[in-house]
Symmetry: C2
Subunit: 330 residues, 2 copies
DNA sequence: TTGAAAGCGCTAACAA
DNA sequence: TTGTTAGCGCTTTCAA
């Protein structure tokens, strides 16, 4: 009985050839005489040999793995991003390694630093201010960023948040809504853009925007903020939420408070997560094509890794998905 | 200008010590004279040296990473499992590397084989029949399995699916429901247990169970099956679904068909995903404590890796969560 | 307290 | 067509 796992040396010895021969055969970088190939094959089979990817990577400098970090995998938006990225990775022969930073910056850095040397490149979904992201560049690995970097020189994928927000607000205006509120999540980079889009549309009509800020981009936070919004002095008749989770939470709480959506208040969110369509009323949302974003980021990263030119910023377009949570005013 | 990343040799040279000294210092396995330590520290700082985890792992045989494979990360049940596992991993200084097998067995094997040599152990959520899982054992890595293995000798974490199903069916019985249907997903290991629990409760009352089988454990599949269930000759007044996604899809389609839940039919699911509470009516569900399952699996794996004894099978208990999708019959 | 030297499992010139 | 040799970046005896 030898050691637990067979090495290339065991194979070489058993087949009566050199390790170099085995290596080349295994990696199909060279052909050998039928006799030799057959011998190696059968020995590999017999010993259950599999090459050690780490040893391999140490030499080649390539791992055929890509890291992706997201903020919270229980948020369907991120789950979709992962889906898209995973598909493209598979198609190109890469393994996607996912890490969940749980919205914690320290954890994020720690995880990414640990990950960076184990992968050929990374896709980063982060909330950390760009000024504090120096360490990411210092990792010196190909990377793709979600968002629109100002300072940081990294290829990026973004969605057109501002236009999406503008579109949905235009729609609400056309439905005759009068009093607008925005439930934001100022911790996110994208919050500004979304709010700006809403403002852009309202300003043109000389309308005000009442802003509320959620403590997290979650349904629970949306529920929590509901009473402050609905039971204030001048409750809105239209509410734009930073994302669908907030909107879902808000709607649930609103119904508990005895308000009707959309009769009393129209509600919209962002991301178009599938669960929005199971809510009642079904949620109107701005679809930012999460899955496309993931796929685009992965394509960009792989292009970068393989030395192909990739444009610095890819913008995915936004699309308004109308459902029952918004309705025209009489 | 040297090569892009500093190695231990660069540090040793710059500090005028040997690589062995640097190694021991970096890993805190030995103390040195203040002068030497200070010199090494400053050089490390200056060069931005970080040790290469791969080279390290090659020697020590440990990676401080754990792999987790799930079937579909967009399913909130799996997302919760990941959450639980991630927390525990972090707490023990491990990095969780997640892979999504997308319900594809070939992909699963490929991903896991690639992963196995890069991690200290793996947690596997699989749909592959145990007979075809020989390769998993052959990987010869510590592993924890979700479910109740019969043949395979692997530590495992399971939930009490049968009891959960029994409980919810007992509840439906107590509410006076007469005609029962089960929307299953026979592809899953757990389907049998859940169906058995339902049958166990019904048999005691001499009641029949009408079984339908979904093609996937998704909301879309639930929608698809709805008409066959509701527009049949003897439509049920109570439906137990394999999971919440199927139940959510079913409820949506039922409403489109003009049926009322729970007046015409009571609906229950499994997993207690958060989105069940945003549906209308809110979904009654059997909570299998997904997050606990992930945490328990990770604890068990880490115990195994670190050589501590762990019991073979951990069973997480089930809990009935009553909401508005079920109601008593007149 | 410090360092020399031997590898971990593998690939990549280069020789034969 | 096959093999020799020199490492990749690091840890770990063992000796100084």
């Amino acid at each position: 009985m030898k050691k637990s796992v067979a090495t290339i040396r065991d194979v070489a010895a058993a087949a009566g050839v050199s390790t170099a021969t085995v290596s080349k055969f295994v990696n199909a970088t060279q052909r050998f005489s039928p006799a030799v190939e057959a011998r190696i094959s059968s020995v590999i089979e017999e010993l259950g040999y599999r090459s050690n990817p780490m040893a391999q990577s140490m030499i080649t400098g390539r791992t055929k793995a890509i890291g992706l970090s997201v903020l919270d995998i229980t948020n369907p938006h991120y789950a979709s991003v992962v889906k898209g990225a995973n598909r493209v990775a598979q198609d190109h022969g890469y393994t996607l390694l996912l890490v969940d930073t749980e919205e914690t910056p320290e954890r994020e850095r720690q995880l990414l630093e640990a990950l960076s040397r184990r992968v050929d490149g990374m896709i980063v979904y982060s909330r950390t201010p760009e000024e504090e992201l120096g360490w990411l560049l210092a990792l010196d690995r190909p990377a793709v960023f979600f968002g629109r970097p100002d300072l940081i020189k990294l290829p990026a994928v973004a969605s057109d948040d501002q236009l999406g927000a503008y579109m949905v607000t235009r729609h609400l205006l056309s439905q005759g809504h009068q009093r607008y509120a925005y439930m934001g999540f100022s911790n996110s980079r994208r919050d500004r853009e979304r709010m700006a889009g809403v403002r852009e549309a309202l300003d043109a009509q000389g309308l005000e925007l009442n802003v509320f800020d959620a403590e997290a981009p979650t349904a629970a936070a949306g529920e929590k903020l509901c009473s402050a919004i609905l039971l204030g002095r001048q409750p809105p008749d239209a509410l734009v939420c930073f994302n669908d989770l907030l909107a879902l939470g808000f709607m649930k709480a609103a119904q508990v408070l005895g308000f009707r959506v959309p009769e009393d208040i129209s509600v919209v969110g962002f991301d178009n997560i599938q669960f929005g369509s199971f809510a009642s009323p079904a949620l109107t949302s701005v679809d930012l094509h999460s899955e496309h974003m993931g796929a685009a980021a992965m394509r960009k990263l792989i292009a970068t890794i393989e030395g192909n030119q990739a444009e610095a910023l890819t913008v995915i377009n936004a699309q308004l998905v109308l459902r029952a949570s918004t309705a025209a005013r009489a």
